[in-house]
Symmetry: C2
């Protein structure tokens, strides 16, 4: 299968109409190259807050033209593309399907994909099917509460103590800032302006043996492992698959995850789940997954 | 459909063989009454730690003949019953199927049953199918961690801070003992020997207006509501269905559950899930559910 790829920054458009017009224009050369719109059977879209049931994007905080409304994106694209069927799902769900069809989850029927990026997203597969729930919005495991009560960090969702507030790339940077400002422990990270520290900086410092940076990844991995131990009680998955920029930290993050999981999971689940890192590159898994949901419509 | 019921205390037998022999003998009059074993298509069993995939009971703490081993109960029953197919699942899963086929979950595709009894059990239905996971043991939501760290109560599973340690009938009794021994607040519960207090006593005291008893149910319901808010991120169910002795406390327990849920759930899920109490009596849901899984084999 030939893969053609183009990038278009969705945030730079003011309206859904403008974004779709630009997208369809940009797609034209690809459409021509494969033999025209008549040869295309369907389109699949992975998008933040994408709703598979309704073909919509709903209240997506980071997209200007969808952050306060429901946009019928599937229908709007279909109308511009010779009425071919268009399916939509959120980006983490698309990644889960990408892993199932092309990635490390091939052959698996029960697994969880956790995307560790700016946020923490998830796609849950049970009995070989993606879990969409009653409303199309199931699988928001980044928003289970890990720290209850007043101590919990504010989360972008408006609540406190969510997994995402600690274990996303943003969360890792916050942990770094907290540790650096509350202690006077030495660290390579002190060479960086505290407000500019990223999870990548922490990962680089840790790989140079920086104790404080290693502790930050220990803390992050430990919390992810504890969260996964809770997730196991739900669907006893055969694998947890990690995806996104933060997995580049490798064993720094994966080892504490596995260790905390085995220490905290119910004895009946111990030793059963694999902990895998996606082999697909960031963009590919979601694009491939989105194309796979296109086939289902 | 005529329903015949008999009870046999599984704990009084020393071996699985003795239990099966007694069960098959006790079943004979019923088998004869419906026209003999040839007219029976299948058998369904709901049992603690029952494994649907393997037809086994595995390491069931409360059954003498299965608490340290794996018992192939389905096969053993089948051999004594003219080799009819026999299916097994755990009792909370059987209750979930009972609700789906005969109870308040009729027509639902995504819901969670929580059984509030001696322990907290659960059966999770996603896309109209029970969630068994990779090993047949999925759906142990009574063992998500609600209180992390050293403060967490010891749980029967060997870990600490589990939902079950607080929100089972046993957990309610423990909460009562803690509150009574740590404070000198007046309460009707002080008329009872502290080690004999049950969740029913707390419920009766609360219904008489006892403030301390009401607070115990507030606390219990609040924690259940917070837990359900986490469960929603997984499968966005259309209903949470509560089942078991503790639901007899009615609004005392259900109102704080609903209130805490709506206060803690992600905004995207708010107002979507129903909170229902099973209409089937305790034994019926599990028996009916078990019979329904018999049909699937």
């Amino acid at each position: 299968m030939a893969r053609l790829r183009l990038q278009l920054p969705s945030r730079q458009y003011d309206t859904a109409e403008a974004f779709i017009e630009a997208s369809v224009n940009a797609l034209q050369p690809i459409i021509e190259q494969v033999g025209g719109i008549e040869t295309i059977k369907a389109m699949g879209i992975g998008a933040p807050n994408g709703n598979y049931y309704n073909g919509t994007i709903e209240i997506a905080p980071n997209i200007k033209w969808a952050h306060e409304c429901v946009v019928p994106l599937a229908k709007m694209f279909s109308e511009q593309l010779n009425n071919i069927p268009v399916a939509i799902t959120n980006d983490a769900n698309a990644a889960a399907i990408g892993e199932m069809v092309y990635g490390v989850a091939r052959g698996m029927k029960n697994f969880i994909v956790l995307t560790l990026g700016t946020g923490v997203g998830s796609g849950v597969v049970v009995n070989g099917q993606l879990v969409y729930g009653c409303d199309g919005f199931a699988g928001e495991l980044g928003h289970v509460t890990m720290v209850r009560g007043e101590e919990g960090r504010m989360c972008g969702c408006g609540r406190t103590g969510c997994l995402e507030a600690y274990c996303s790339a943003t969360g890792v940077a916050r942990t770094a800032k907290e540790l650096l400002s509350k202690t006077d422990r030495p660290s390579l990270l002190r060479d960086i302006n505290i407000d500019d520290i990223t999870s990548l900086d922490v990962s680089i410092a840790a790989s140079k043996g920086d104790e404080l940076a290693k502790e930050i990844y220990e803390f992050t991995g430990h919390m992810l492992g504890e969260a996964c131990a809770d997730f196991a009680t739900f669907c006893s998955p055969e694998a947890f698959i990690f995806f996104g920029g933060m997995t580049k930290a490798g064993d720094l993050i994966m080892e504490p995850i596995k260790k905390a999981y085995e220490a905290h999971v119910m004895p009946i689940y111990r030793g059963k789940a694999q902990f895998l890192v996606s082999g697909l590159d960031g963009a590919s898994a979601a694009v491939l997954g989105a194309s796979a949901i296109g086939w289902e419509v």
